[in-house]
């Protein structure tokens, strides 16, 4: 297959993620996560603009109590920076590093971006309601045998399968 030359074997990649998960728990005491990094950025921005509000608001207050330390100083932020750097380098090694908008053949780039934005917002809200995204809740959660991780897995991927039917025209 042509693809297998440029993409890593997915079983191997899965095992590697597991290994990194163990390493992340060992070194940082936290698992892997993606939405957490964005949350840290949002919390920091709100805290810098209006510290008094952030200190009181339910969503922000847990992270801004320590006045000495900025909420941006989180392991997840640095993990995501590493993910970006690593993704660029690995894509370059595989020879598929370029700027493009991945989309179905029958829609414009513009509608792809609009739907991506809507999807991103929904996923952002959902990840905060579920206290974590695919990586933060499902993978890290399942890594420590948390029940919510398994329920999250079913909900995220099951929901994806069900909803995908209605939006199939975006990709087909």
């Amino acid at each position: 297959m042509e693809r297998s030359k440029t993409y890593m074997n997915s079983y191997l990649a899965g095992i590697l993620i597991g290994v990194f998960m163990i390493a992340a728990y060992y070194f940082s005491g936290e698992g892997l996560g993606a939405s957490g990094a964005l949350k840290a950025v949002v919390v920091t921005a709100v805290n810098d603009v209006n510290h008094e509000y952030a200190k009181e608001a339910h969503f922000f207050k847990a992270r801004v109590q320590n006045e000495e330390q900025s909420p941006i100083k989180s392991w997840l932020v640095f993990e995501i920076l590493g993910v970006i750097a690593g993704a660029i380098i690995s894509a370059a090694i595989a020879g598929r590093l370029k700027f493009e908008i991945g989309k179905g053949p029958n829609i414009t780039s513009r509608s792809r971006l609009i739907f991506a934005l809507i999807g991103g917002i929904l996923f952002g809200v959902g990840s905060q309601l579920g206290r974590g995204c695919t990586s933060g809740m499902v993978m890290s959660g399942m890594g420590v045998l948390s029940l919510s991780g398994f329920i999250g897995l079913i909900a995220i991927f099951g929901g994806g399968y069900v909803i995908a039917y209605f939006f199939r025209k975006l990709w087909l």
Partner: protein, 333 residues
Amino acid sequence: MEEVLYVSGKALPHITPHLEVWGSVIALYLFFGGLAAGLLFFANFFYLKGKADFMPMTVKVAPIIAPIIIILGLVLLVYDLHHWLYFWQLFLHVRMESPMSWGAWTLSIIMIPAILWPLSYLDDTIEYLQNRNPKCKLIGLFTWANNLIKKLPVLPWVMNLFNNNKKVIAYLTIYLSIILGVYTGILLSAFNARPLWNSAILGPLFLTSGVSTAAALIMWLSNDHSERKMYSQIDLFLIAVELFFIIHLFMGMLSGGVAQVEAAQLFLGGPYTAVFWVLIVGMGLVVPAVLEIMELSGFHIPIGIPAFLILMGGLIFRFIMVYAGQASGFNIL
């Protein structure tokens, strides 16, 4: 009972426990200054090497950015002044021992070649843009400016004088651009009360960083393969020099007095550690260096990625140095 009033330098707002005088405006100004210095340096250097026609982006097109960002930087500088209306006083004083005076004068003198240089190549710039990017909206603006210049009374004569003495001017501009690049660091290192800044290596470090951001910008803008490749190599060299200077900055600090050691600790375990080593050294120097090595060894890398990382690294470097420098002090006293 007699009242005794104690006045202490330890209770000054904005100065203790640490300086809070300079902010993002100054960091941005230093970034623009270094970038402009680098752009002018490369333009004049490669002009003198006789490469004007082989490296059109470097010599002819990119220098147009220099006066724009110098003006932007000066606007920021004036904005930062407490008494805006007194800014012109900087240009009426020559103080040999003050780096700010040197900087103000260098900036005002370098503005002349910085403006005249791109103007003298305006025809070539328009042609370059028409060939490479015919839809570019700047073409109309440049053509209008070009026609205007030819109609103005004194300017054609000035341009003639400039073109006839271009070689001498290029030598002078290279010299001035190096002073400008060094000045962005010396400005900080003249503060002897801030141990992090007060290091002789800051001038060369800021110069290297500024020139490296300029190389990244030209590399990004250029369409020419050989020009890009050369800037990849230049950038790699400059990144190596920058890392060398950064290591020596810390070596010098750690072998200094207690205040210097404390200043170095801001980056070696203190509050700026993560952001300095991850964002500046990691994402701003090492990752682009890796990408450029890969590019030179045949992998396909969109040049915008390393260029963007270097520019961001340079910008964040100035922010961190401005803020961390103010946080450092002779707290032991």
